[in-house]
């Protein structure tokens, strides 16, 4: 069961591909925080990675941070192991934190079903947008920029125009 709108972001402390541990508190001074469930192996994620980097680049100096978390079971999907996450972040030049939720405890608290799946929080860390990054896996066919529109709204002290959309992507790979 995913977080419901206006719910406070559950705490986490997870290792990142940068070799440091990252907790929710580390982002306390960031007004707009997107936590995106992600992974390595999924073609939907790979198709959206460039847009994730672009969003971080475009809003990073305006009080926004994107944090990606992978909770996938690396036993069934070895491409999603922590070592592979480090390699992909390096190869793709990720400009956002990429964290590993190995025991899936953080995923159980947030309740993502897909990768990629966005949880966007305001300065009080209340959930204000949940769902897809935009409305098309094909970058050239995007019509609605849900995440960008929600970030813009928050940065201008407005309500996001759309609060919830169905995430599209691979399922989170839960441990059996």
């Amino acid at each position: 069961m995913s977080l419901t709108m206006a719910t406070e972001a559950p705490h986490f402390e997870l290792p990142g591909v940068d070799g440091r541990d990252h907790s929710l508190d580390d982002y306390a001074d960031i007004p707009v925080l997107a936590i995106v469930w992600s992974c390595n192996h999924c073609p939907y994620v790979q198709g959206w990675e460039g847009r994730m980097k672009a969003i971080q680049r475009d809003y990073g100096d305006r009080g926004f941070r994107l944090v990606a978390i992978s909770s996938n079971d690396a036993t069934s999907h070895p491409a999603d192991s922590f070592d592979e996450m480090k390699a992909r972040a390096e190869a793709q030049g990720f400009n956002f934190d990429y964290l590993y939720d190995e025991d899936q405890s953080v995923a159980r608290r947030y309740g993502p079903e897909r990768t990629p799946e966005v949880f966007l929080f305001d300065a009080d860390r209340r959930l204000v947008y949940h769902g897809a990054i935009d409305d098309n896996r094909d970058e050239d066919a995007v019509g609605q920029h849900y995440l960008r529109d929600a970030i813009e709204a928050l940065l201008e002290a407005r309500e996001p125009p759309v609060r919830e959309t169905p995430p599209v992507g691979c399922t989170v790979k839960w441990k059996q």
Binding site: H41, C42, P43, Y44, Q46, G47, S76, H77, R137, D138, E139, V168, G169, C170, T171, K173
Partner: protein, 100 residues
Amino acid sequence: MTVDFLYWAGCPSHPEARELLEEVLRGRGVDVPIHVREVRTQEEAQELGFPGSPTIRVDGRDVDPAGENEPPSLSCRIYNLPNGRVSPVPTREQIEEALR
């Protein structure tokens, strides 16, 4: 000619891929049944050599030979596009090439 369409329901790309396959077959005037098989377990994936969903084979040949030897897995399959991007479905050109 035999056309096999293998998919795993956990990946949302199969309806789009099947529609594309049907469209290409219609467009080329190929009137053959599509043998649809849902892959439900890892054991079935192993048995069928299923490298991810969807997988399309024409006369037993994968429409994307580059990806056919990926480890059998219940996951979305990655198709590499000519423009360097990736897609969860094959391209129209890949399907058409397999039908030639």
